[in-house]
């Protein structure tokens, strides 16, 4: 099982890297989907099948679809690809790469000094996740509920249409 976890993690890292360096936005989002699927696989191997399924349903299935939806409406084509190409040059990459290398060095040091990590066989099902969410973490659930409610009210406000009156005499009286 450990080897499956490492393969899935490698796919996740590589595809996320490709998300950043793609010039075409929709292709980048496709790699993002692959990345989410790989993360879901890693969750599954680590013994969290419920979280793995939710990762696919919510992130790969809904959120990225909405992103693609927006990008399709913007109708970006050759110009945007050219612009992306211009932005992504070697000089910009140098800074982040150095910083990431520092982190990677620390990670390798930590992994090499710690005792070897073993995967637990314990599977955390839907029930355990639910008990935790509505037990110790209930405040987080409530807060995210309030946040979503605010989002819905905001979307309703933005999407509201003024009442249309089509009669030619009444048209001017409406605000």
């Amino acid at each position: 099982m450990l080897i499956i976890f490492y393969i899935a993690s490698a796919v996740a890292v590589i595809s996320t890297l490709l998300v950043i360096i793609q010039h075409n936005l929709v292709h980048a989002l496709l790699y993002l989907v692959v990345s989410f699927l790989a993360v879901a696989m890693a969750f599954y191997v680590l013994g969290a099948p419920f979280i793995a399924a939710l990762e696919v349903i919510i992130y790969a299935g809904a959120i990225v679809v909405l992103m693609i939806f927006v990008i399709m409406m913007l109708n970006l084509r050759q110009e945007s690809i050219a612009q992306e190409k211009k932005w992504l040059n070697a000089q910009i990459v140098i800074g982040p790469v150095i910083l990431v290398l520092v982190l990677a060095g620390e990670l390798i040091y930590m992994v090499s000094t710690e005792a070897s990590i073993t995967l637990t066989d314990q599977v955390i099902g839907a029930k355990a996740v639910g008990m935790t969410l509505y037990g110790p973490y209930v405040i987080g659930v409530e807060l995210s509920g309030i946040l979503l409610m605010a989002g819905i009210v905001g979307a309703y406000h933005l999407g509201r249409q003024k009442k249309k009156v089509t009669h030619r005499f009444l048209e001017k009286q409406e605000e």
Binding site: L30, V33, A52, L54, V56, I57, G61, V65, F69, M73
Partner: protein, 321 residues
Amino acid sequence: MDEAIIDKLLIIAGVLGGLLLVAPGLIWLERRLLALWQDRYGPNRAGPFGVLIVLADTIKLFFKEDWIPPFADKFVFVLAPGIVVVTVLMSFIVVPFAPGVIVSDLNIGMLFFLANSSLGAYSIILGGWASNNKYSLLGSMRGAAQMISYEVFMGLAMMGVVLLSGSFSMHTVVEAQKDMWFVIPQFLGFVIFFIAGIAETHRLPFDIPEAESELIAGFHSEYSGMKFGIFFVGEYLGIILISAVTVALYFGGWLGPDFLPPLVWFSLKTLGFICFFILLRASLPRPRYDQLMEYGWKILLPLSLLNLVVTAGVVLVNKGI
């Protein structure tokens, strides 16, 4: 190899072969049934009852020019038709055909089904976007909105069954229906699930992503030859999938009187739902796009939430708190 692995391989081969044989057969069934309900003959020349029309159609599709438009995004254009077939076939992994005849009884079976149906939306979205054609793009945008919203009601309707059986595994759900099929306590859930299922497979009356009278053929306007054929087969596989899952969740799966084997019961019930899909096509007009979205969010969402709350309450009371 030990016997368990050979058994699994046999089941996989059987399911795959059966589905790929039945899906084109449905095209013939649909044309004959539509003809019957519209008082005409339908295809009846090639072979007995015209069954061989399917073979003729397939050969025709193979020999058609497989044209990729020069303005299309080639990689995504070729990828899109495959996605729908792969995701639908993956969903069949968790469908229990008979006791023990299931590819893998995952303990997150229903979520696996939902995950695959949400990934299936990419087929429409990417196909329409890669075609680089305004009708295709309109179709794929409609499809994206439709499939994302109806998936919500589908999931919520399924939760009623999960509450009653206490498991996400479809095998357990079918076994929990020994005394009573879930269609009786979960009738509202069944109706919502089935409507959402029609919208997920974008079949008539909810076929607004392709809507041939306004968008030519919607997301697959630019597709020809076998790529169009794969979209078509994917659609029919989707019909079989939704029918099979409806049977498993609400109509007792393989359960039935003893004079027929379980597999036959399952197939008969599924066939009934497939015919119902075709009857819907023959009898209902297509709603407008905004009507479809309004119907979903203003009627189906409150109803499915109500169904969930009432079911949860009843289960809680029955357990004696």
